[in-house]
Amino acid sequence: MRRFWKIALVGVVMVCFLAGAAFAESVFIYGRGGDAVRLDPADITDGESVKVCNQIFETLVKFKDGSTEVEPALATSWDISDDNLTWTFNLRDGVKFHDGTPFNADAVVFSLERQMNEDHPAHEGDFGYWSYMYTNVDKVWAEDENTVKIKLKEPYAPFLYNMACFPVMIVSPTAMLDEGVEYFRTHPVGTGPFAFVEWKRNDRIVLEKFDGYWGDPAGVDKLIIRSIPENTTRLMALLAGEIHAMDGVSPENIKTLKEQKREDLKVVAQPGMNVGYLALNMEKEPFDDVRVRRAISYAINKKKLVDELYQGMAVPAVNMLPPNLWGYNDDVEDYGYDPEKAKVLLAEAGYPQGFETDLWYMPVPRPYMPDGKLIAQAMQQDLEKVGVKCNLVTYDWGTYLEKLENFEHTMCLIGWIGDNGDPDNFLYVLLDKDTATPGSAQNYSNYKSDEYHDLMIKAQRTFDQQERDALYKQAQELLHQDAPTVPVAHAYNLAIINTDVEGFKLHPTGNYWFDGVTVK
């Protein structure tokens, strides 16, 4: 009899094991650097928080796979009024939040109004991105349960793309009002393919597949996003098989990976939605002379910079717009590397012996420029060859930006990462005369062209995609002629994944969506 129970016990244990194997959940473990700050999409400013929110929340429109054009998400269609001021969004039926409450027009109004309206019960937070991207919004209201209308103060075509961005992700009003905004920041509730499970600060965030999702269900049962700040440690976790994929890949990591010769790991790369460039302050001599600016463009060896200092993980820039955005002008010819021509132009402008100036660089690695100092030094050498002697200058990052905003520099290295995939976000923000106001400038070249400004405003007010495309192409020609900046490179978005991972896609906007990922 004793023997029977022993065998039975073994049998039970075996069944449990097998059942466990059958019901074993699939997990995708993703490693990134810093941890998220908070999970209220309207109140975040950092990429790590956006990364997590992308899995939990959704917007009315979303970016198409591999493109910066938009397609329906929580809204199935949209329209613009005849005066081009009022947008109407028709919402998707039958969508639920993770807490079971229904998604409807009221939820959309709630998510937007809480940021605009100081008296709103959920107006708790800084909403840094609202005043940066959405101040044009005049009113939001629900026409009926499935229709939302948004009236703008001025016609603004890029608005549609702004509606695909994280600050206007739709949050569950019930969850926010019941538990309060502060609780929501660590227990988010959205409509996305993944629902929140737990957050161990500076360690990991655990999400699980949402069974009630309106679209295709997520490819894995559990998604764990780990925070490993030290780059090398993160790579080692990947090599040891503790994580399935990682971002924040530095050029050294690529080298290490090549040396390891691992067949089961591969690098995925794509030009990012960014541009690293040298801005020439046109208010300071001699940069007010277009010949000098063109000379500098000829003097810099971009290909060498990209090969050596970006480890080839970038594409040399011709325009201020990254090549994978619509509106990119492929016909513009780069100045190219021609130090002789540079010297001729400098002589013509009255500087046959060259001149002395400052070259500012940032002390921190930026996605568009992995090592500002090395790039500045390389440029210093290039410019020396044509007679332009540069003193290298730097400040800590916060101070650097402040000084740039006040036009304290002559030449500075800087860059930009796009927000919404609309060319306006690069060409207007970085080079229009509107943004050349000292104290808050983003047009670090102080480029004040009326002709350019007209093109920008027209493109903002036109809703015809082809017309806008043509206008932006024209603008890039103008920039090429006037040379207020020297575009240097568009850095790649990089990730390293285990070959067991399928469905991992990079997106031109630099965002990550993991719902299509499966792990063998």
Binding site: V27, I29, G34, V37, R38, T45, D46, G125, D126, F127, G128, Y129, W130, S131, Y132, T135, E182, R185, K200, R201, N202, D203, R204, V206, K222, I224, R226, S227, I228, P229, E230, T232, T233, R234, M236, A237, L239, A240, E242, Y395, D396, W397, G398, T399, L401, E402, I414, W416, D419, G439, S440, Q442
Partner: protein
């Protein structure tokens, strides 16, 4: 009892020390360039957004107002809110302190046991091979860069041998309820033996890495204190009396040697509590050290102040306990 009064007096002294310290931290951070609001918003900031953020963080007020508000809150036991995360600083410390304490405790345990034993034996068998070898080892331990040692250990034990995990406190797929936030205790409380072993596996490398410097210092200190004690007259008397070597070493020599050793241990524990920033960074250990470092980079004054003051408080209390320990160890010491 006089000791009690002494203890109480020393605890009271904590308050003025921490206030002066907080003022020093405040002025140092004011002197460093960098605006937290600008750092948070980066380039994607409109001037309105920056102004709004500065205002909501209270950064547009003069420094004495801000410092005064800080002191006022401190008096009520409120360390304020982190500029970066908006959460209560006390809350964040409560989350991260157990991680650092757990790590420091184990590092200290290793340092005391291994270092103390090495020093003890070195003194007993002075001039032996063990003596030279362990003192040489101590020299290396104190000189070896922790960053490098940490990565080397990960490469050897995680990648090549595959024995230990690379980083973190616990396997991400393990579901452990954090009750005390001391994972070893939590896993025992829940009877989760698998989690317990997992936590130990994660503790081994960072603890050893962190222990190298204190271990080396304790070894040398123990050795020299023991040698000093062994050269005393009372030891000769004890030997003359015919006492066994064991009794001489442990009861007479070690007890007397322990006073300087305990001092060093106390100071070292304070150093470990300093958050062991390097070890926490290499092993992605979610402790106080990393948190303070991130606070410094973001110019997050409440975090920096809260973190440094907590570490200072620990340091002071530990050294107070050391002083109390003296009174118990050495009858000559009376307060």
């Amino acid at each position: 009892m006089k000791l009690g009064k002494y203890f109480f007096k020393r605890i009271i002294m904590l308050i003025p020390v921490l206030i002066v310290l907080s003022f020093l931290i405040f002025t140092m951070i004011e002197a460093i360039p960098g605006d937290p609001a600008q750092i948070m918003l980066g380039q994607h900031a409109s001037p309105e957004a920056l102004e709004q953020l500065r205002h909501s963080l209270g950064l547009d007020q003069p420094w004495y107002t801000r410092y005064g508000l800080f002191l006022g809150r401190l008096a009520r036991g409120d360390l304020g809110k982190s500029i970066l995360s908006g959460r209560q600083v006390i809350h964040e410390i409560a989350e991260k302190l157990p991680a650092t304490i757990e790590l420091s405790f184990f590092a200290m345990l290793i340092a005391v046991l291994v270092g103390g034993l090495a020093g003890f034996i070195s003194a007993w068998k002075q001039y032996s091979l063990f003596d030279y070898a362990s003192m040489f080892g101590a020299l290396i331990g104190v000189s070896m860069p922790i960053y490098w040692l940490g990565f080397m250990m990960i490469i050897l034990f995680s990648l090549i041998l595959g024995w230990l995990p690379t980083s973190g406190r616990i396997d991400p797929t393990t579901a452990l309820h954090a009750i005390t936030h001391f994972y070893l205790i939590d896993s025992l409380l829940q009877g989760d033996w698998k989690a317990f072993k997992d936590v130990i596996a994660h503790l081994i490398m960072p603890s050893i890495c962190l222990a190298t410097v204190p271990m080396a210092i304790i070894a040398r200190m123990t050795r020299s204190a023991m040698l000093d004690a062994l050269s005393q007259d009372y030891i000769r008397t004890a030997k003359a009396k015919g006492l066994g070597m064991g009794r001489i070493l442990f009861v007479h020599a070690f007890k007397n040697a322990s006073i300087p050793v305990v001092t060093v241990v106390g100071l070292q524990f304070g150093y470990l509590m300093g958050g062991a920033i390097l070890t926490e960074t290499v092993f992605s250990w979610p402790g106080v050290g990393r948190w303070i470092l991130e606070g410094i980079l973001a110019r997050d004054f409440p975090v920096i102040a809260g973190g440094v003051l907590t570490v200072a408080a620990f340091f002071i209390i530990i050294n107070l306990l050391v002083d109390v320990l003296y009174a118990l160890l050495d009858p000559r010491i009376r307060y």
